[in-house]
């Protein structure tokens, strides 16, 4: 079991989302960066779709209670408790992990070797915070929340680590975010499609799990920004009458009545999602065939990365001991 001491501003239980209920207005929600969540799970040898704790900006402080807890942090944090990110960790009963702020990117994950004991609702443990559904009472984590862990493995996991630059795709961070045109690209002036792929846009401060509002040159509609409401996908680029694009994300509404000029290619969503407000973003157009080929290649590369995470032999005990000696965080309950 873990106990949340300080959750951070926007920390919630997520998995790959609740699919199959959008026809009734129930959105999937789920992790914002599916790639990083999968890597976090790989660090604790868990299935890629196992539920994780997602945090924004500032990670939680939490304590292991009763039994040792095997977990991993995927996110550029330097925990004040001295625990390293990007590798398998074991917290002993009474030991506290304080993740602290993320540096240079938006979203981090905490994965657990033993699955989180959070109710499954309509086939998923994901929290839809805006709708108040799923996860723990449909809400963000709070101080004092205690979450059980299913005792499936016998512990004694190997310590794996991942190169943060590879996990966060740092080398391609400045590459354009690829877009597939449609479904309402024809409702825009031809110049708007050129502008979107040639001019830089900037993330405003209005970025959350529902969507990221961008600012930049206005994208002009031919006639109107309004349409008969239709379905919205993860990564849909919606443009209301002011011409400023909004990329709709995990907690989007299932349907909406504004034109959507394009959709972000799925394997580029992690690079977009991890940008912080004020960051510049550039877009480029690809065909749907190119997008599907890119997504397939990316999925295969990610599988391979996760399957071949290097081992850090004999380090668990030594590094934890060292960390504890230095920071002196071990305390009785």
């Amino acid at each position: 079991m873990i106990e949340i001491i300080e959750p951070g501003p926007l920390t919630s239980v997520q998995d790959r989302g609740r699919w199959g209920h959008q026809a009734q207005g129930i959105g999937p929600s789920g992790v914002m960066d599916a790639r990083l969540a999968q890597i976090a799970n790989a660090l604790v040898s868990a299935p890629g779709d196992q539920a994780v704790i997602e945090f924004w900006g500032m990670g939680p402080s939490l304590e292991a209670t009763e039994r040792p807890v095997t977990l991993a942090i995927a996110g550029n944090a330097q925990p004040s408790s001295g625990h390293p990110a990007w590798q398998t960790l074991t917290l002993h009963p009474g030991e506290r992990l304080s993740i602290g702020p993320l540096r240079g990117h938006a979203v981090g994950y905490l994965a657990f070797a033993n699955p989180l004991q959070v109710p499954t609702w309509l086939g998923s443990q994901a929290t839809h915070i805006r709708a108040g559904l799923g996860g723990i009472d449909g809400r963000c984590l709070r101080p004092g929340d205690r979450i059980g862990l299913q005792q499936t493995s016998s512990g004694a996991l190997l310590t794996r680590y991942v190169d943060p630059e590879r996990a966060l795709q740092s080398q391609s961070a400045s590459q354009p975010i690829r877009l597939v045109a449609g479904p309402q690209d024809q409702d825009f002036e031809a110049a708007a499609l050129q502008v979107l792929a040639s001019q830089p846009y900037r993330l405003t401060s209005l970025c959350d799990r529902m969507g990221y509002r961008l600012e930049g040159p206005a994208l002009k509609h031919k006639v109107s920004a309004d349409i008969a409401s239709d379905g919205i996908a993860m990564g849909s680029v919606q443009v209301p009458a002011n011409g400023q694009p909004i990329v709709l994300l995990a907690e989007r509404q299932t349907t909406g009545g504004y034109t959507k000029i394009a959709t972000v290619v799925s394997c580029d969503l992690p690079r977009l999602v991890q940008k912080v407000p004020g960051s510049e973003v550039r877009f480029s157009w690809v065909s749907v065939e190119e997008a599907q080929a890119a997504a397939l290649a990316d999925a295969q590369a990610l599988e391979q990365l996760c399957a071949q995470l290097p081992l850090r032999m004999d380090m668990t005990t030594a590094s934890l001991l060292a960390a504890n000696l230095i920071s002196g965080v071990v305390s009785g309950e």
Binding site: I26, P183, M234, A295
Partner: protein, 250 residues
Amino acid sequence: MNTLYHISPVGDQALLLTFGHASDMALDAKANARVMALYQALQDQAPSWLIDLVPSLRALLVYYDAQALSYQGLSAEIEAQLAEQINMSDSQEGRQLCLPVCYDEEFALDLASVAQAKGQSEQAVLDMHQASHFKVYMLGFMPGAPYLGGLDPALSLPRRSTPRAVVPAGSVAIASTMGVIYPKQSPGGWHVLGRCPLTFFDPSNQEAPCLLAPGDFIRFQAISRADYDALLADSSGYKVEVQQAVGEAV
């Protein structure tokens, strides 16, 4: 039936089929009937590549497993299904539901203003509302919230110029050429005519959290305040489904 359609990719993981044009805001019964026919067909077939479906007023969003089926493959599949349905009649099968509504003054927040705007008596407005054959064109906005086509055109009017900060749960409202029901308390700009005591979204019911489904046919029936209170306290005995019927697309 035949309606012009347009197929577009929605990124690499979804496809949108639109009947007519998305910017055509007019409710289109035939377009929606075609959406529902394909939605129901795909739901029944449950092909292995299908991940989720979002039917809406005149479009169907199809989420699919692109590693199992390419965009071109799915487009061809959709076209083949549409060709099969080309000779379908405009009539549609669907559940026929009767929803009880209490139109008492306390609940009918906008009845007087609607009657005034339309130059009708309040009773005439309520008669028209109950005589309208509604169909669930889509659910959205919030879990379980239906957009209902089929409002008597004589009741068509724009939304309130100032939306309400709080519309109570169960409120039955109209605006434009549609009806709506608010499953939960929420802000809203539609004209509220009454309140229904049934539960439209119940997350504790994992089998069927939403009372309504796309394609349902709906009539409203007036109930007294006493019946409203009784149903609000316990609606487990209320039979919402009238009959399995073939309804005309409206």
